[in-house]
């Protein structure tokens, strides 16, 4: 058994990231599909007056200078961490223009967290930061994300009344509504924006590469050849090659993320690192172990958790790993 990994931890990290990426897509669909004003930046990089570069989760820029900065927070309980997270979100008010920060927190804890920020003096009434809770609800026929202000205590609100009946100020503050965004609209963005600004867990990237990027390394004839020969062949990939494929298809992926994913696949004995820095990937349908999962991300997680192989240990021959 591995001391480094447990299946639970790996899968929790995977699904937390997936959920946050989904929330960003959801807001993307809101502004592009419904509000139809403003420019949505899915991977913002902004320089603060201090010279620091920041990467919030999304920024929407409007012609009149209004900015909405979105940041999904998972606030740690621990005092220092909690304070630093709030301070970081507050700095986003300095990205230029009239910037409001939407701090997104999961609903069960959002109100409690906002009260704590006020109580501990981390957030004043005047700070242009609005705490919004998010909740996924499947009780309706169509699943929606619901967004609402966590508490209505503070005066700070969205300065977007120019958007009329699509203004978050009007909807969330004046009318005190929960705003529904059907998943369906965000779903359309999920394939185009599988990643957000935050670094993904290596397992998430590895599963993505396996399912949606490695397939583009081989050509049409290669697949037919593999089939008629009856044996899967390894594919040789480099980080640069992966980056190039993603860039060509509009997928935002950092080289460091790809490296982490390939190293993880190596640990899972699904790839081998060669002397020239490239990787041979045992690309194909991963053989299910008895009682094991049939899903790629779970199979990788299981292989990691049950790995007894040191990082420099022997590699499993291709034939034992993948099938068609």
């Amino acid at each position: 058994m591995s001391e480094k990994y447990t299946v639970d931890d790996l899968l929790t990290g995977f699904s937390t990231y997936e959920q946050q990426a989904d929330v960003v897509c959801c807001w993307h669909s809101w502004y592009e599909g419904f509000v139809e004003q403003g420019t949505f930046d899915h991977y913002p990089k902004r320089d603060l007056p201090s010279g620091d570069r920041v990467t919030p989760d999304f920024v929407v820029e409007f012609d009149d200078g209004y900015r909405l900065v979105g940041e999904i927070c998972r606030l740690p309980n621990q005092e220092d961490g909690f304070r630093r997270s709030v301070e970081q979100a507050l700095r986003y008010t300095q990205v230029g223009g009239d910037a409001d920060v939407m701090m997104l927190l999961r609903q069960p804890t959002a109100a409690e967290c906002e009260s704590r920020m006020i109580r501990e003096g981390l957030l004043t009434d005047a700070d242009q930061l609005v705490v919004v809770s998010y909740l996924r609800d499947a009780t309706d026929v169509k699943t929606c994300w619901w967004f609402q202000r966590a508490t209505h205590i503070r005066s700070a609100t969205f300065r977007d009344t120019q958007l009329g009946d699509k203004s978050l100020h009007i909807l969330m503050t004046e009318q005190m509504k929960s705003v529904p965004v059907p998943l369906r609209f965000g779903l359309g963005y999920r394939s185009r924006f599988p990643f957000m600004n935050d670094e993904p867990p290596a397992l998430y990237t590895a599963a993505y590469l396996w399912q949606s990027v490695f397939n583009m390394v081989l050509g049409e004839d290669d697949y037919t050849e593999r089939l008629v020969r009856g044996e899967p062949t390894d594919i040789n990939v480099t980080v640069a090659m992966i980056k190039e494929i993603c860039d060509a298809n509009g997928i935002h992926l950092k080289a460091a993320w790809a490296t982490a994913a390939l190293d993880l696949l190596r640990e899972a004995r699904l790839a081998e690192k060669l002397g020239d820095g490239s990787y041979d990937v045992r690309y194909g349908k991963i053989r299910a172990t008895p009682g094991g999962s049939h899903e790629v991300h779970q199979q990788i997680a299981e292989r990691l958790a049950h790995s007894t192989v040191s990082s420099t240990g022997p590699e499993v021959p291709a034939g034992q790993t993948q099938i068609f």
Binding site: M216, Y223, V228, K285
Partner: protein, 372 residues
Amino acid sequence: MTERLFDSTQSSFARDVWASASVLDSDALFAHAERHSTKPHFSMQTHMRYCDQSPLDLFERFGPHLMSIEARHSVEGGGGVARLRDDGRSLQGYVAIVPGSQSNVWLIATDMKASSEEYDRLLTPMLDRLSGRLLAGWMSTRELEESLLRLEQEAGCALAPGRVASKGYDRSSIEFLRHGSMSAVLEELRQRSLHLQSVDFKLLAADGREVLSGGVNKWYRVQYRGGASYAIRHYLLDALESRLVSHFAKVTVCHDTPNESRLTFKFDRDALMDRARHEKLVSVLSQMPRVSVCAFHMNPYLHVSVADYTDGSSVNLLSDAADRLFVIPGPRCTSGSVSRILDAIYNDFAPGMVAEEEDDKSEWAALMDTGR
């Protein structure tokens, strides 16, 4: 292995088709078949495939990895005849390949007995391993029904079903029903929520004479055992060709907007109600040969990514409501792969069909009225 040994196993039908390969087209093929159908136990299996190049070229190019191949090409049309041999097992069979009447449709025909060793070791692996190139469509129960009723109507003869294979979702068995009339069979299938897989039938003239004997399955495989080949060609195969073309038109992948444009698969009834059903769908997909799945999200909505090693396709499947599934092809994705995925879903999960896309804009507007 000597040529003589093989020749002794060659049927007279195969010999004639092989000898006339240079002028073979579908008319000639069926003329040969009709002539030889008076011999005992004759039957010709025809697999209809969608492909933008001649299957014979693909057989010649990739087949040698699997078996020995010798091909004779037709002068026109791109078809011909392939002689397939497994020397180690002393197996030999002939496969005729002719273009259909619609473009990109091909008929791949043989008189090898279905499930014979020759058929299983020569034709089956060839079609299976080339399935990324030679696309096999599938029909819903309703489409197969319509095709049979049309045959009955156009021929002006009664269609008497023989062996009927059907399948339910809660059991994997194939059932065989024997009934007097096709409509009685179809009604029984409906009542028992069974799906039609294949039908063997006879066409009976008004005076009771048997004018055609054949069969068809939902994967566009047509069997001709004898009788009026004109009827099976023009009242069944032609209709199936049009259906195959429109099947692949429905699952066409738009390559201009990968990861964006989508198809909607609408289930006949709610099929994705809860986590258990989502997991069932993911399990069905993961059982597909040469396919791997990753459920990025299982519940309350479903987001599964599917990689198809048959041809390197990648697809995202998403669902936010129990009665529909969105299919979003990735930058590398073929209509063949979309068809295979939907085939597995229809066959092993729940019935449905590709539907018109709903309009997002009106849904947004309606939604804001429900804000709470």
